[in-house]
């Protein structure tokens, strides 16, 4: 004998076990674009969605430890690491950076308005269980080792990991 189960119940159970998934590829290391990525990520997590951010190229700067030196042995990548300063606090604006002047202006406007910046949004994202994945290929290319990334990066992985997540995703963004 089979027990009758109300369709609404099974649907609810399904929803319970399979929350909607969001993936974001953050390629940009610009302040404004990183903020957009983290606002969407934290908003989605607050809505009960499962969120993964995949950091690649300049986007890795958002999860680099402040002031961590490049670990690269060859001088070319070392040089690159020196030029490409990391850290969530140091991201430049995509426009009107003006050698740092524009960016520090936007920082003070944000502070006056009690708007969270990238470091605060990153912490909130981690609090809400957003999964952070760093792309190993671009880490190698840019001379970024895992010791120079912040604590709490969930995985170091590649494109297959991203695609495995993205094919389950109902929202997949590239920023």
């Amino acid at each position: 004998m089979t027990a009758a189960v109300a369709p609404s119940e099974t649907l609810a159970a399904l929803r319970e076990t399979k929350p909607e998934k969001v993936t974001i590829v953050l390629l940009s290391g610009d302040l404004d674009k990183a903020m957009a990525a983290f606002i969407i990520a934290t908003g989605a997590a607050a809505m009960g969605m499962q969120v993964t951010i995949f950091f690649t190229f300049w986007g890795l700067n958002a999860i680099r430890r402040k002031g961590a030196a490049s670990s690269a042995r060859d001088w070319l990548r070392r040089m690159f690491g020196l030029l490409n300063k990391g850290g969530a606090e140091h991201l430049p604006l995509s426009r009107f950076h003006f050698g740092g002047l524009g960016t520090s202006m936007i920082h003070s406007v944000m502070k006056q308005n009690r708007m969270p910046g990238v470091p605060e949004l990153l912490r909130t994202a981690q609090d809400l269980g957003v999964q952070l994945i760093a792309c190993t290929t671009t880490m190698g290319l840019m001379g970024i080792s895992k010791e120079t990334l912040i604590d709490g990066v969930d995985q170091l992985a590649g494109v297959s990991t991203y695609l495995a997540e993205a094919r389950q995703g109902s929202v997949n963004l590239f920023i």
Binding site: I39, G43, A46, M47, G48, P116
Partner: protein, 81 residues
């Protein structure tokens, strides 16, 4: 105005912070209790109904108000399981 059991003040905070604080605060409530969220971010008028729909909590009221001569909004969310 619906009666609230818990009040959450998010005045001065922009998107996504009111929703993030709401999603954290709602965990402290018992099922059936009502959370009042006060915000001066106009986006809340659209965001709170959307959040409720996504999370399954019930929006029992959304009112315009004026706080310190500024437009503000009160959203009342009844916790569902």
């Amino acid at each position: 105005m619906p009666k609230a059991d818990v009040r959450l003040d998010t005045l001065g905070l922009f998107c996504p912070m009111p929703i993030i604080h709401t999603s954290k605060k709602i965990k402290d409530l018992a099922v059936g209790q009502v959370l009042e969220v006060v915000s001066d971010d106009e986006g809340i008028k659209k965001d709170m109904p959307a959040w409720c729909e996504a999370t399954g909590h019930e929006l029992v009221g959304l009112e315009d108000d004026t706080i310190n001569h500024k437009a503000a909004y009160r959203a009342f969310v009844k916790k569902r399981s």
